[in-house]
Symmetry: C2
């Protein structure tokens, strides 16, 4: 169930009640690809007040496999995360990570990136896997086109994704779990509109905007979000998949998006790039060698409360595992704290000030 | 100050009062090579009740370097560990890790394993570095002979180490820090005796037994420990350097050793090998794929309280960073809990039962 608590312009303060807990929106979902947020543990997620996390169906299907998940109950029990989980459909990884052998109306024939074994992922199988994982939000199987792509290819791909979406809706056997449709159509406005309407005709618990942040211009992404959120049923949550930077997120909230996920905070952390209230910090830089200050003086995470930039630089340069952990913890805390600020700003009708502030930090 | 609280046979229950805290012995010291226990943080050390940790002078001297450490105060402040620290002299790493160019009476000429730059480590410099780190216990610079080695080489090396030990004692400028001598002499009983007596003539706050677990037979190691602890001043703590397995430790306590360090718990964890109350577990093994049980049902660490063997195997196989963290946490907790059991057993005069129990677990 999704409840709209407050609107300020097009930005929305909402509450999504799921089987495993309540999620205050707008929200960011840390990515636990293989049943674990890289470098972190459930205890850390409690510390940084994560409300919902994302699991990758493709990875979990291949390893540990559904027999193992079933044996342990579900993904929540397997990974000791009792809170809400959203899982993707596996489609995006098949197109980006595995070797795709053939795409037919039936589904996607692919080879595992781990051991080369062959599988056919159909819309029905994707939902079956996600129901086995018992994720609070299941995503429909879709094809995510690359960029650039011709109008004709984008259209035929989107229309197949819509037929797959209808099959996913049919395949659902656990109505206590949410199912979200995914808008496709690349950077073509009329295809995006058609896709939104197709999904609303089927009817989903929420609507995701897929296929963005794949190489298109920033303004094209913003335009496509604008097109979708202008049409999509306002009583349902909107989820912008795989996006993005702090500024991307706040710009999308400004257009009425409620949910986000991205590997950026954890992946950047492993590369030494940190998000702070003063902008990006590259902790490898020698200017931090003697720096006593916290990564982010305005942050209250364990990393910032405990260590100096000088020490964190030393850990990174020395290749210490704890560096990835500490920087990931901080970056995720930064993202989750940003979402908290966003929620408060919408409640207090000063979201535009927050947006201007972030444009001034990041647009340089 | 070292206080003997209780003896049971030759095993000793003691209390070592250091500048940064009190250490109950027998104790195991987790190894924080580069100013960080691999995969863990000070908050984890509090959870597993670590009392004292070990830092490596060689690594910290090369990176971040003493200018950085001085800028941040000392090693305690740099790494946010307010408790006691023991540092080694750097000698062992020069012989095992760096390229040793020349060994003279003055000291050891070596090249950094990081960037090839050249240094001369003298006894005086080793103490100066350790006083800059401000470790509660400084170790004298010594040469650790490899095995096997001729009697003549072992003798001349040991005697030079004794001259270096005297120079270290002379070089001390911070009497509030402890300084420990290191017994050498390879597997030659009379050389070990001579070394013990030489060190006691100089007079140290504690005595370490060095140069063991470098390839000699297990019974030779036990014999050499026996020779040393029979001679060394019983009013001072005895520290067996770089040893070892749980059984090695308990056998050495049986001969009167008080302090231990080893990379085994953390290094083995990163390779998937776990110490439990039922023996060793290789978490990679496919037999654990569907195993619901804790790594060690008798352990109360976060890893064992939260996760199944099946999940931990999945994390390890998937190459997740959190696997190293969780297994390192468990292994160190196992070692520290073992030391707690040892202390209690000595207090209650049933150390021999504990020893028999561990011989039955590990001697197979």
């Amino acid at each position: 169930m999704f409840e709209l608590i407050k609107q300020s312009g097009r930005s929305r303060r909402g509450r999504l009640t799921l089987l495993h807990g309540v999620v205050e929106t707008p929200i960011f979902m840390p990515v636990a690809t293989a049943g674990c947020i890289k470098g972190l543990l459930p205890s850390d997620l409690v510390d940084i007040k994560a409300q919902i996390i994302l699991g990758n169906t493709y990875h979990l299907f291949l390893r540990p496999g559904m027999e193992v998940i079933k044996h342990f109950g579900d993904l929540h029990q397997f990974m000791a995360w009792p809170g809400p989980i959203l899982t993707d459909s596996g489609g995006f990884q098949i197109f980006s990570l595995s070797r795709l052998n053939k795409l037919t109306e039936e589904g996607a024939y692919f080879q595992s990136h781990i051991d080369g074994s062959s599988f056919l992922l159909t819309p029905e199988l994707s939902i079956k896997i996600q129901e086995t994982l018992y994720s609070d939000i299941n995503m429909v199987l879709d094809e995510c086109t690359s960029h650039p792509v011709s109008y004709e290819l984008a259209a035929s791909s989107m229309r197949r994704s819509m037929r797959w979406a209808a099959r996913c809706r049919q395949a659902q056997t656990k109505p206590e779990l949410n199912q979200f449709g995914i808008v496709q159509g690349n950077v073509f406005e009329d295809l995006r509109q058609e896709s939104c309407n197709s999904l609303m005709d089927i009817g989903f618990d929420g609507y995701a905007i897929g296929g963005l942040s794949v190489g298109e211009e920033k303004n094209q992404m913003i335009d496509m979000i604008d097109v979708c959120t202008s049409i999509l049923d306002p009583s349902r949550p909107r989820y912008l998949m795989g996006v993005g930077t702090p500024l991307d997120i706040i710009e999308a909230v400004n257009l009425g998006v409620d949910m986000f996920d991205c590997v950026m905070p954890t992946r950047n952390a492993r590369r030494g790039t940190v998000f702070t209230s003063q902008g990006k910090v590259n902790i490898k830089n020698s200017r931090y060698k003697f720096d006593d200050s916290a990564l982010d003086p305005n942050c209250n995470c364990y990393t910032c409360k405990t260590f100096s930039r000088g020490y964190l630089r030393h850990l990174f340069i020395s290749g210490e595992l704890s560096s990835h952990r500490l920087l990931s913890l901080h970056n995720l805390n930064y993202y989750l704290h940003l979402m908290e600020e966003i929620r408060t700003a919408i409640e207090q009708d000063n979201f535009q000030e927050l947006l201007s502030f972030h444009r001034s930090i990041w647009d340089k």
